[in-house]
C-alpha cells in the first residue's frame, strides 16, 4: 500500500528477534518469553520495547497533571520581612513583574514556568494517546516532538532555581527571610514527573504500527 510513510519497510530489531542492552550495548537474541530478560554481561533488564512504557507514561503524566494544580495555586516563595509576610505564587510573581514593567522577565518566567510544563504535559498526552491508539498519523513529526519534549524538560526549573538561591541567600533573621513555599515542591514534582514520563515513553512504539502495518501485510 502507498499509505505508509516509508515505502520500503526496513528491518527492525524486533523483527530480527534481537535485543540490545541499554547499559552496555550488548546484542542479545530476544527470549521466546519476551519479558523479564536480563543482559548476560551487565545484568541490566532487557526488553524489545521499554517495559509497560505506556502505563508508566500515563501514570506519571496523571500524577504531573494532579500536581500541576497545587504548583500554581500554592505559594512558591514566602517572604517574611519587618513589614510583614508575603506569599507569592508563580502567577502572582509574573503579574507583579508585568505590572512593574519588567515585561521580558515576566514573559520569560511565564513561558518557562507556566507554558513549558503545560505544553510538555499536553505533548506527552498526545504522544501516549496516539501510541496507544497505534496511530500512523504524522509519525515522523511526533518523533521530533518527542525529541523536543525530552530536550526542553530540564529547562523549566528556573523558578525552583531562583527560589532555591534566594532562600539560601536571604536569611537576615528578623529583617527579611525568604523560604520556599509548598508550591515549589509541587512545581518541582511536576517538572520531575514530566521528565520521567518522557523518559518512560518509548519513541520506538510510535513506529511499531507502521512496521506492523508493513510487515503484517
Amino acid at each position: 500500500m502507498t499509505a505508509s510513510p516509508l515505502e520500503a519497510v526496513p528491518l527492525t530489531a524486533a523483527a530480527a528477534g534481537l535485543m540490545r542492552c541499554h547499559a552496555c550495548g550488548r546484542l542479545h537474541a530476544a527470549a521466546s518469553h519476551g519479558e523479564a530478560a536480563h543482559c548476560e554481561r551487565c545484568g541490566a533488564p532487557l526488553h524489545l520495547r521499554k517495559r509497560d512504557d505506556l502505563a508508566r507514561t500515563w501514570a506519571l503524566l496523571i500524577a504531573a497533571c494532579i500536581l500541576y494544580v497545587p504548583a500554581n495555586v500554592l505559594p512558591v516563595m514566602v517572604t517574611r520581612s519587618v513589614v510583614g509576610t508575603q506569599s507569592d505564587t508563580i502567577m502572582s510573581g509574573v503579574i507583579y513583574l508585568w505590572i512593574t514593567g519588567s515585561w521580558p522577565l515576566a514573559a520569560l518566567i511565564f513561558f518557562a514556568s507556566v507554558m513549558v510544563p503545560l505544553l510538555k504535559i499536553i505533548a506527552l498526552v498526545v504522544l501516549a494517546f496516539t501510541a496507544q491508539r497505534r496511530s500512523t498519523w504524522a509519525v515522523q513529526e511526533r518523533t521530533k516532538l518527542y525529541r523536543v519534549v525530552e530536550f526542553v524538560g530540564r529547562w523549566s526549573m528556573i523558578d525552583i532555581f531562583v527560589v532555591g538561591v534566594l532562600a539560601a541567600l536571604v536569611q537576615f533573621g528578623a529583617l527579611a527571610t525568604i523560604s520556599a513555599g509548598p508550591g515549589a515542591i509541587a512545581f518541582g514534582a511536576v517538572v520531575v514527573l514530566t521528565m520521567l514520563a518522557a523518559e518512560a515513553f518509548d519513541p520506538r512504539s510510535l513506529w511499531d504500527p507502521v512496521h506492523d502495518w508493513g510487515t503484517d501485510r
Binding site: 530476544a30 527470549a31 501514570a59 494532579i66 514534582a189
Partner: protein, 544 residues
Amino acid sequence: MSAPDPDRVPEAVVQKKRRSLPLVWIVPLVAALIGIFLGVRAYLERGAMIEISFQTGDGLEAGKTKIKYKDVEVGVVQSVALADKGAGVVASAEIAKPAAYLLRDDTRFWVVRPRISGGSVSGLGTLLAGSYLALDPGKIEKERRKFVGLELPPVVTLDVPGTRYVLRAEDAGSLDVAAPIYFRRVQVGQVVSFELDKDGRGVDVKIFVKAPYDQYVTANTRFWNASGFDVNIDTSGVRIDTQSVVSLLVGGIAFQTPEEPALPTRATENAAFRLYADRGSALKNPDYLSEDFVFVFHEPVRGLSVGSPVEFRGIEVGEVTGIFAEFDPVSNVFTSPVEARFYPERLRKHLRPGGVLPRDVMTNTRARIAFLIEHGLRAQLRTSNLLTGARYIALDVFPQAAGKLKVDASRKPFDVPTVAGGLPELEASINRIAAKIEKLPLESISADARQALQSLDRTLKGAEQLVGRIDRELTPEARATLEGARRSLAAMEVTLANDAPLQLGLRSTLDDMSRAADSLRALVDYLERHPESLIRGKREDVTP
C-alpha cells in the same frame, strides 16, 4: 576471547513475573492523595466570610489589608466596595477558621493607623507595613457576620479585665476620651466616653478601671477632676497640685476613698458616682446633719451668692442656699431673706462641756442657737474679697445685743436676727459725701470760668495787636539809631587805633616828660651832694 560467533547468541535469562500491576501507578496515586488532601484541607480551612462597613475606605486595600487580633493575623480583606448609595464602604474579609469563634455579636473592628493622641503614640508599625484592621472579640455568645467598623480605636478592649463606672459631672471640663484615671498617682484606668444626660443637665462620664485596681473603688469613693493643676495660695504659702503632665494635656480623673466611715463594699459594675470639681471638695467631710436657717437682712445683699459661706468666727459652718427679696406691706420696706444650710456637726466638737447650760442646749441644735441668740448671736454681712465684692454671712456674738430677744426654738422658719454690716455703713457715708459733691453749684462755677476765659482771650488779642504795632512803627526807627551808633563806634575805633596820629603824639609827649623827670632827678641828686653849688656853681672836676 575467540572471534565473535554469530551463531552463538546466548539465550536470555528468564525470571518469574512478579507483579501484575506496574509499581509506577503508585506515583499518580500518591499525587492524587496529596491533591485530595490539599483540596480537603483548603475546604475545611475555608474561613468565615464577613462584611465590615466603614465610613471611608482609608487604609483598606483589597487582598492586602490584614485583620489582626492581638497582633496575630487572623484574616485578610478580600474586597472593598462602596456601600449602597455611597454611604460608606463595605470591606469583605475572610477570617481564618481557627479564629472564626471571635466573630461574636459584639465584636468590634477598627482600622489601626498611626495615631498620636494625648500622651500616647500608637500604630507606628503601620507607617511601614500599612494599616490593618484590628479586632476586639465580644463576649456575647452569638455569631455574627456583618459588622459596623469603629472609626476610632476603642479606648478599652473588651478582653481587659476591669470594671466600668459612671461619673456624673456638671460639665465635661477639659476631659477627653482616653484621659487617664489616677489612684494615688498611679494610672489605673481611662475615660471611655462621655455623653450628655437625657435632660441635658449634666454629663455622664464613663470610665474604666483596670482589674487589680477596681477593688479600691468602694461605694463611698470620691472621684474628682484632676485636669490641669490646682494652685493653692494660703497663709502657709503656695501649693501646686497636679497629677501628671499627661493630665495637664488631656485632663484626668483621680479617685480616693476617705479613711473614715469605711464601707468596704466594692462598687458594682456601672455604679454611679459624683465627679467633684477638685480634690478639696471631693474629700471634704460629708455633713450628715443640717439645719435650715433664714437670715433677714435689711440691706442689699449684693455680693452674696448661692454657695457663699456662713462662718462663725471664721469657721465655716454652713452655706447659702437661696437669696430672695420680700416686700413687707405692713412696714412698707423691702427685706432680703437669705436661706442658709447650717451644719451643726462642725460646731459640736468645739463645745466644751461643763458650766450651767440648760440641758437641751447640749443636744438640740435649734435650742443651742436660740440660746446663743439670746446671748447676743447675730448675723452680719461682711465682705470677704474687696476686689470682687464677694460677701459672706458672719455669725458673731455682739455683747451689746445680749438679752434683748427671746427666741422660740421651735418656730419655722427659724430665723436668726441680723445687724447691719460694717461696710454698708461706710458705704452710706460715702454716699452722703457723694450727695454733697452733687449739690455743689458746678454749673455756675463752670459759667464763671467760661467768662473768665473769654476775657482772657480778649486781653490776649489786645496784646497781640500791640505787638503788631510795635513791629510796624518802632522797628524802622530803632534800626536807624542802631546804624548811627555803629558808625560812631567805627570812628572811635579809627581814633583809638595804634597807628593813629593822636596816639603817636601822645606817646612822644610822654617820652619827653619822662626825660624831663630824669634830668630833674639828676639835678636834685647833685644838689643833695653839693648844696654849695647853689651858691658857687657847678665844679667841673668834681665828677669822677
